[in-house]
Symmetry: C2
Subunit: 343 residues, 2 copies
Amino acid sequence: MAGTGRNGDTKVVTLSDVARLAGVSVATASKALNGRSQVAARTRARVEAAAEQLSFVPNRMAQGLLAGRTGTVGLLTSDLQGRFVIPILMGAEDAFGAGRVSVFLCDAREDTIREQHHLQALLSRRVDGLIVVGSRTDPRSTLGHDIPVPVVYVYAPSDDAGDLSLVPDNVAAGRIAVEHLVACGRRKIAHVSGDPGYAAALDRGVGVGEGLDAAGLKLVGDSMYADWSERWGRDASAVLLDRHPDIDAIVCGSDQIARGALDAVRDRGRVVPDDVAVIGFDNWEPMVEGSRPELTSIDPNLELLGRAAAQRVFAALDGDELGDGVHLQAPRLVIRGSTVPRS
Amino acid sequence: MAGTGRNGDTKVVTLSDVARLAGVSVATASKALNGRSQVAARTRARVEAAAEQLSFVPNRMAQGLLAGRTGTVGLLTSDLQGRFVIPILMGAEDAFGAGRVSVFLCDAREDTIREQHHLQALLSRRVDGLIVVGSRTDPRSTLGHDIPVPVVYVYAPSDDAGDLSLVPDNVAAGRIAVEHLVACGRRKIAHVSGDPGYAAALDRGVGVGEGLDAAGLKLVGDSMYADWSERWGRDASAVLLDRHPDIDAIVCGSDQIARGALDAVRDRGRVVPDDVAVIGFDNWEPMVEGSRPELTSIDPNLELLGRAAAQRVFAALDGDELGDGVHLQAPRLVIRGSTVPRS
DNA sequence: CTGTTAGCGCGTTCAA
DNA sequence: TTGAACGCGCTAACAG
């Protein structure tokens, strides 16, 4: 199977190579390989054998030239770390068989100029659709409506209500976190979150408030907002625990903050989860699985978001309405040892 | 600028649309837009105005059909988390202006079948080259030599010496770690690493040994290999510290292990870095910057790896030899508070 | 059943 | 200086 030459030596084989080897015209070869019915069985077999022998791979770009579709999607992101975009990419790939559609991934790095360049590049390559992934859940400026392909905004919604946006439901996430703590018997719940300039921080905070209201509880101390770091999680939790020694649970705005909270609790000689339960957001594996104990967290279900985005794009290509407005993806509670004692 | 319709309404404009609006032939329009000299200045201006007005974007796939190049690279990975592949992708993008070349990212998820599907998909889209990114530094099976485009293996080398592989120099990384600790005055150095089935673990261990030899030192206790988790870092460090209370430094096989080591040291009432210095590998930001104190680490310079890979691919397209064998990328020491006291 | 013709969007000859 | 004609690789119409 493997040739002896280096990569790049072997010339790309075309349909006409196959046709010549099989002794038929290119049209017949095309029909044979595409499973059209109007081909003699023997001829089809000859063509298929020839294609196999030459390891022929049809040029999808040439096909796309005719069909008006390239089987290609652009994923335009500014998520430097890939934390959000990778699950979304995988969800998009899953929405179809592997290889049926390929994904261009471009990182704009929060730079509008660079984003425009990438957008041009993607359109010039005639992507069938575009998925725009932000690095935070705050609205971002729309790409505009004069784009000739369907566009779906994921994670960060578009600021234009005419666009379709798919985002995690952070309010529900906050509510679910509190409901879980209450179900575990916690009554003295505190809240430490990240940068208050982020919608994610505020939305989760709103959900926390709703959850407390529903349980007839009041937050212990004030919600603490500063930044998304472990250090802040430690410092803020330390203050809260010292001022309110009766705290029996801390809702944290992210898994990193939660890790800081775990440290603060342990520094004070108290035990998680027996004395104080801790819950985070994001369900970011390296964070939640490395901690001691492992961290209960709210998973935003990003794969589902990516899968839904891809499905919407391709449904739109098939003539369906793309739809508009901001659609919320329900989160999922993942329980680990930081809220429920484990063996 | 923005149209009033929804996305997808506006038809894709072609060169002939531009030519018609400008009142010239497509050939002339093509020359005008591509900066060919044989066009009257006034004609060129008319064509450019028409292109602008219609916001014409040339179809690079049609161009590619002629040129034999698509300005497209395939990135075939099995790095589920995106830890390695994202920096490599960014390096590859940087190797050219943003948008000059676009990158298809495919995740094979350690599955050979899926990898073959993606490979076919990429070749059918006529990528100009292929970058294969593994999730560990152990050799992986070659894609073969009958691929019609240049292939570069990154992070995980190919098991075929005829292929070109670009990988981090883990032996050097281990050596540099020890050299740094020795330079900080440490003499009683222990070693905790990850899964001994990983070349990365063993290679770094070899480097640690070389560094110790060069300094005339012996490892305190045995190298501890198990897995890449924080938990293991804690447990192994605890054993070492209890059996060898004079340990003044721990070299850890990853940042996660190092975080576990930090916990173990603190649990014993000892201070990092004053009593015990700790150093990790990977320089993975959320890990190194969240810890207390921040973690000194060895950065494998993945962006440079990605950039180099992209450059090799495109140099090969321009006729240069692709080259072969395994090439090592030198790592970089990043000093933080876990080895040198900080204000 | 098969082959010929046409054309997808573009760049590059070559005549005019 | 411009435009008509050709071909990149492929598929869809038709004619044979």
